[in-house]
Symmetry: C2
Subunit: 404 residues, 2 copies
Amino acid sequence: MMDQKLFANRVQSEVASRLQGLFPQMPYDDAITFTAGSPAENLFPKAAMQQAYLDAIAAEGAHTFQYHTVQGPVELRERLADRAMKRHQIQDIDADNVMLTAGGQQGIDLVAKLMLNRGDAIVVEAPTYVGALSAFDMYEPTYYEVPLEADGMAVDQLEDLLKQHPEIKLIYTVADFHNPGGVTMSLAKRRRLVELANQYNVMILEDTPYRDLRYVGESLPTIKSFDTEGRVIFLSSFSKILMPTLRTGWLVADQSILTQLYKLKEANDLEVPNITASAINQFMAKNDLDVHIAGLTSEYAVRQQAMVQAIKDELPDGVTATAPEGGFFTWLTLPETIDTTALLYDICTPQAHIAYVPSKNFYAYKNHSNGMRLNFTGLTPEQIQDGMHRLGTVLTAAMTVTTN
Amino acid sequence: MMDQKLFANRVQSEVASRLQGLFPQMPYDDAITFTAGSPAENLFPKAAMQQAYLDAIAAEGAHTFQYHTVQGPVELRERLADRAMKRHQIQDIDADNVMLTAGGQQGIDLVAKLMLNRGDAIVVEAPTYVGALSAFDMYEPTYYEVPLEADGMAVDQLEDLLKQHPEIKLIYTVADFHNPGGVTMSLAKRRRLVELANQYNVMILEDTPYRDLRYVGESLPTIKSFDTEGRVIFLSSFSKILMPTLRTGWLVADQSILTQLYKLKEANDLEVPNITASAINQFMAKNDLDVHIAGLTSEYAVRQQAMVQAIKDELPDGVTATAPEGGFFTWLTLPETIDTTALLYDICTPQAHIAYVPSKNFYAYKNHSNGMRLNFTGLTPEQIQDGMHRLGTVLTAAMTVTTN
């Protein structure tokens, strides 16, 4: 039995288990869970990806399976550079500006490892992606939170923070179809964010796993597209637009940054798995990723519509919901008297057989208890309607009790 | 351009690029490089592994490609627990004691992340595996070095260190066919190491990537097999015995330790790639890994013999070489007047068209300049003979010059 005194501080802190127990047990035949962050399996291009693995092995033979390099195949990085220029408005980049990572998660971890000494200051949205907090936690930073508004991070409050705390180094943001908030940052705020980063000498990590999954409205330029000083590190992933098991994400950044990040990746896990990266390259060579994504968005759009309608039809007054134009999630804000963690375990799970992720998990200091994240891409429109009806009934009762 | 002041201390230190530039450019048709740490590609079970990928997809369908869990498939962990009991003498474990990692490298990184605050003390062998140093560096530890002897780490010196520095938390060792040292730790020292760990309340990380690749002599019990207090974390990998691109290693440890390590892995990269782990599981179900390994050892044994003979035939007096019974490497110690880094770049590469890895890379403080690591598994016996003849000629000349 290991003496706990031998553990590092980072695993002794209370927050070190943010990712544990997010999803309650639901052993009911009629369970409807809004918890998932997983893409719909029936939309995976299974046959094409199987063929891509075979093509990768055929192309390289036994060498497919050898050690390669920390960077991984240049062909795939070229494709992603092209994609970043065409779809994400990032100018004048090539394969040398693209770094492959073990999912988006490793991208977040490596940027944190690059920048954060213990106690260093970082800005996150409130709420924010729980996996990002779990990565940042390991470097024991000081968090500053900026509230999320209907058009994204409250940039005026951000500026106040940057003025008060010149020690802030990094801003982490999910600008498109926020996880968990469901909102999208406005064009004006994207520009402003880059101006503030320039003015106050901070870096921005723009995390965009859902960016290609827009169901209504027009795409906005990335924050990175306004970057003239190399201050924005752009992060994307194949997990939501292709398949999670590929565990492949990518960063777009200045070469001087990637040079450092490659050293950190080598220390972490030596290199990208060549067979996986080569299979993705073969998939992209023989299939149109955008056609595949169009198939996803047309199916997910129906589910998003069902969620928007169910929010209107089923939720009581006093509950506000964000209106997602894409991505996986919507966010509910309840009266402050309601604790969504207690509600989940006391009533929703055992009685209504529904589940969501309670808000406190998405705040750096776990100090917001009256919100919840709802996924709508993992359920049929009928399940969404049924589950939201049950949720509306629970919330109406809970809000009656607590206001009496 | 990122302001360098925004970088964390860990990337600013001089040692942060241990893995960069290890292998010199060798643009010569007659080049012979003893640098490699890669297994021989012609021995990869290409067809069987391709079939294993297909079998994995057939068994699980589209779900193969979904998110799974941080632990990965229980079937593979069961197989590895069985293997650890049968071949590595570890008692009374099951799948819950086995953790899959992104290669052995991530296993080292995660153990470091579990235990090391900045400045914490760790013992490494001198020389030691450069990738381990690169992982440890990121947590900014204080290194204490114990010399490597013909029968492994100098445990008497280790005890002196443990007495003098009660703050030491972790001992890292490669007991079987050391990289880069080529030596194997004796049975007596393995027992003693566990006794010292118990007495001084430290943990041991036993790294065994080469353990299954023995060419002469009898296998010794693992250090972990003597562990009665849960102080030894056993680490192995598929990179050398199957294929590097799988990027799959595994740890065997007490559950209380793995519980913490899983949190750290989730923060790093969320989970094991299910398709890879499932393919390895299918490979192991339908092929006998030990038969495959026997094929590797019979071919590598010929090369090891050629190296042993070439050392006898070609090297001048005053050069000592370790006698590896397995693994990938032998280690040469030259007179202290010789700087092997200068020799490599001034003479061996440009004139003799041979390369090795100079010793300084394998020392925590880069302060040993008269050794070199030679790989013998990546070359034919004829190449080994030819390359060692050239090296002997260079060394004879260099030692004549420096002793005059």
